[in-house]
């Protein structure tokens, strides 16, 4: 069971302006790398925190960082993103577990994980441990 812990520096002040958008994996399944990154950045630039079912591939994550930096360079108020992926049983490194997960991934994709991406101005920090996630709001 994935434990989530959301901490707020001063709850009343921050929750007011916090907007979350949950994206099911099915919504990005048919998109190519550019379209996926573009879709996510569009939501983030709207000052929303994205909770994506599943995770991006490594090449998509690095492209997201690359495109984010290009945006920081061009959009005055945009300072970047905070990004974290949480996978259930991430600490389990046994061969049997890896084999089972590999088969499941190849059949249904890696949508057992959860990705949290938010604008750096809204999300101060995402502290990730194998079994928990702490989102610190700015």
């Amino acid at each position: 069971m994935v434990k989530r812990k959301i901490l707020r520096k001063s709850p009343q002040k921050n929750v007011k302006g916090l907007s979350l958008q949950i994206i099911p994996y099915s919504e990005i399944r048919g998109l190519n790398i550019s379209e996926r990154v573009k879709k996510l950045l569009k939501i983030i630039l709207g000052n929303k925190v994205v909770i994506l079912q599943g995770r991006l591939r490594p090449e998509e994550e690095i492209r997201l960082i690359e495109d984010t930096m290009a945006m920081v360079d061009h959009i005055k108020s945009f300072r970047g993103i905070e990004l974290a992926v949480i996978e259930p049983d991430a600490g389990n490194n046994s061969m049997m577990f890896k084999l089972r997960r590999g088969i499941a991934k190849s059949l249904i994709g890696d949508n057992n994980a959860m990705t949290v991406i938010g604008p750096a101005s809204v999300v101060k920090d995402i502290r990730r441990d194998p079994r928990k996630l702490e989102v610190l709001l700015g």
């Binding site: 490594p58 905070e82 990730r128």
Partner: protein, 212 residues
């Protein structure tokens, strides 16, 4: 995809027809974790010159820096490397962070702009590396998505990786935690600043070169 295929075919050709010499070794990792400090130790040891400036202010390295033909000797063996020191990869750049270090606002904004371009440059260079050394601050939490993303991209490109847990001289340094995050990789603990465990690092570097 095309880039990965190109890289893969180049590696096959290298393994068939070329010696394992003049390997391009990239130094990657988050900002301020000691990439340039370590690259400086190597370059100073074997060429007599440093590769770049270091400072306490993050994003001191904002352009890729290279040192050609760095000949390293270890236990009677000699290998020649091309050292590529890259700007630290981050997901956010805030010029206000630099103000805390006494940088003037105008200079901080310029630094932030150069840092964003440096990150893009670092990412573009990933495809050109023969092997990569990821330098992490062992006193910080290694569970950062940037670290995991860098490693994931190197695995996808089939580029051999060595993880350097730097700053072992710090009280909070925890090499075991770094090893637990990256159990499939060689992790060597060093202090580039205090020149601790540098011999062990060279041993790991030669092991890494064997994997290319």
């Amino acid at each position: 995809m095309l880039k990965i295929l190109k890289k893969f075919s180049r590696r096959i050709l290298r393994s068939l027809f070329m010696s394992k010499d003049n390997l391009k070794i990239g130094f990657y990792g988050p900002p301020n974790d000691g990439k340039t400090s370590l690259a400086n130790v190597i370059c100073k040891d074997w060429t007599g010159e440093e590769i770049g400036k270091v400072s306490d202010i993050p994003h001191e390295t904002r352009k890729v820096q290279q040192k050609e033909k760095v000949e390293i000797k270890y236990k009677g063996k000699t290998l020649t490397f091309k050292i590529v020191d890259t700007p630290g990869i981050a997901t956010k750049i805030d010029y206000e962070e630099f103000l805390k270090f006494g940088v003037k606002k105008r200079e901080a904004k310029k630094r932030a702009k150069e840092a964003t371009q440096g990150i893009i440059e670092s990412i573009k260079w990933l495809d050109d590396m023969d092997a990569v050394i990821i330098v992490l601050n062992s006193a910080k939490n290694p569970y950062s998505q940037v670290n995991i993303t860098i490693v994931g991209n190197l695995v996808a490109r089939k580029i051999p990786v060595l993880i350097v847990a730097n700053k072992i001289d710090k009280k909070k340094s925890d090499i075991k935690k770094v090893e637990s995050v990256f159990p499939e990789y060689d992790v060597v603990g060093i202090s580039a600043k205090k020149k601790k465990n540098i011999e062990e690092f060279y041993e790991s570097l030669f092991k890494l070169a064997k994997k290319v």
